[in-house]
């Protein structure tokens, strides 16, 4: 089936809103591909989950219904992918870039899983690091979360265990209801990268703390069968285009995240930037939560993470 895709335009799906750095990265890749293949491969990009929820898109790339995408890890398809959502896998951008770069230990850990699933990972883009946005606060230390009686909306097993470890009450709310829930008080806090917090939740957020507990990678991927049937020069072109656009976007990502935090501060949100000592306190809870997280991703994977993160 993917063979027929050779003849027509490819589709590339993204998750972030149009005209964000994420979207620009995908668009840049598309235009570079057209350039480097001499127009033999043309890709249309669709931002903002227009091609469906990211899980569907991931599945569709696996099935070859959609040729490519810049998508979050979808652990439904293999629970080992959950490893990418380990709390404090990386605490700084430099660290994150290093472990996810081709040859980095996270890349090595995830690549075979992707190939097994049927997608070719071309590289990672970093959407940002999750911070803590809340209507109560300010929150500086993990103890503040329980002290202020903050109900945290979580979105995956890792952050759920993390906040429960510090004695917080966690709630499960669909993203579409999150804004209203923060407004009415069903939840008092959520953890997302500055981009998401600023774009969707700025009007209900009063405090934001850059806890950086989750390093959120998006993977630029192509359907494997389609990839394998490509001539060598086109494979090279696709990979080169990916390297170039990802390097370009990743170089800008940290500054962009800072920009969003500045925008939040400018509109009156109290933004707390943690000192390394303060973040170390959060890291302790993160590490404690790994014990239970091990049940989610399996001991084997957790051991690899332990070995690499603590060294």
């Amino acid at each position: 089936v993917p063979g027929s895709a050779l003849a027509r335009k490819w589709r590339a799906g993204g998750v972030a809103p149009a005209d964000t750095l994420d979207d620009d990265c995908l668009k840049k890749w598309c235009s570079l591909v057209a350039e480097k293949t001499g127009g033999k491969i043309k890709i249309d990009s669709y931002p903002a989950e227009q091609l469906g929820p990211y899980r569907d898109q991931f599945d569709n790339v696996v099935r070859g219904v959609q040729e490519s995408g810049l998508l979050p890890l979808s652990p439904e398809f293999d629970k080992r992918l959950q490893a990418g959502y380990t709390i404090y896998l990386a605490q700084t951008w430099a660290e994150g870039r290093k472990i996810y770069a081709p040859g980095g230990w996270m890349f090595k850990l995830l690549e075979p899983i992707f190939l097994e699933l049927g997608v070719k990972p071309l590289g990672f883009y970093f959407m940002g690091m999750d911070g803590f946005g809340t209507t109560k606060g300010p929150v500086v230390l993990p103890e503040d979360v329980a002290k202020l009686g903050i109900k945290v909306r979580t979105w995956n097993p890792a952050d759920r265990l993390f906040f429960q470890e510090m004695g917080a009450q966690t709630v499960d709310i669909a993203f579409s209801e999150l804004f209203t829930s923060l407004q009415t008080g069903v939840a008092d806090a959520q953890d997302n990268a500055p981009l998401i917090t600023y774009t969707f939740l700025r009007d209900v957020t009063k405090y934001y703390t850059d806890t950086n507990h989750l390093f959120e990678p998006l993977v630029l991927m192509v359907n494997l069968e389609l990839w394998e049937n490509l001539p060598e020069d086109q494979k090279k072109a696709l990979q080169a285009a990916a390297d170039e656009s990802l390097a370009w976007a990743n170089a800008k990502a940290e500054a962009t995240a800072d920009e969003y935090m500045k925008k939040m501060a400018d509109m009156g949100i109290k933004v707390t930037r943690l000192t390394p000592e303060q973040r170390a306190k959060w890291f302790e809870y993160g590490k404690k939560s790994w014990k239970k997280f091990e049940e989610v991703i399996g001991k084997e994977t957790m051991d690899i993470i332990r070995k690499n993160v603590t060294k």
């Binding site: 439904e76 293999d78 995956n156 097993p157 009450q169 966690t170």
Partner: protein, 167 residues
């Protein structure tokens, strides 16, 4: 043979009705416990929510099976008002439905097979997703069976109409 079919259909009815009641009641109970636990005991479990969602998917499709069985799927009034037009259209409609449901069953089969092959499991509960994914296959088959039953009924009605018209 006829007795066997009647009996099977009868047991199907009982199972489907039990399914309707069980899913709706369990779903309500799960979410209600969740709400109470959160408000009064500050406790919340994503597992209950996930279970409720999966049960809802079953309830939707069991409901669709019963709508098929009772031939009460939402439709417009239609353009045929008199016999035999109405009868012929019903026949055609059932035929198209049956054909489409066969496609649906085929899709669902592929889906479940894919899910089993990949050994997909749910994020929170860790149950094999095939437990929910099979909803489509099981109910698809049931809908096809009921539609086939209606189709034969429709054929019978058309036949009776012309028999009646002749005599």
């Amino acid at each position: 043979m006829k007795e066997f079919i009647t009996k099977t259909i009868k047991y199907l009815h009982i199972a489907e009705d039990a399914g309707r009641i069980f899913t709706i009641v369990t779903m309500t109970a799960l979410v209600f416990i969740q709400v109470v636990a959160r408000i009064f005991f500050k406790w919340s479990s994503p597992a209950m929510e996930e279970a409720a969602r999966f049960i809802m998917i079953w309830s939707i499709f069991i409901g669709a099976v019963v709508s098929t069985r009772e031939d009460s799927h939402i439709k417009m009034g239609g353009i045929f008002k008199r016999e035999p037009g109405v009868l012929w259209f019903e026949l055609l409609s059932k035929l198209v439905c049956f054909g489409f449901l066969c496609v649906f069953v085929y899709w669902s089969y592929e889906f479940v097979a894919h899910s089993l092959r990949r050994n997909m499991s749910s994020i929170v509960l860790g149950v094999p997703l095939a437990v929910v994914h099979s909803t489509f296959l099981v109910t698809g088959v049931l809908m096809a069976i009921h539609t086939l039953y209606h189709l034969f009924d429709s054929i019978g009605q058309v036949a009776r109409y012309y028999k009646g018209a002749r005599s």
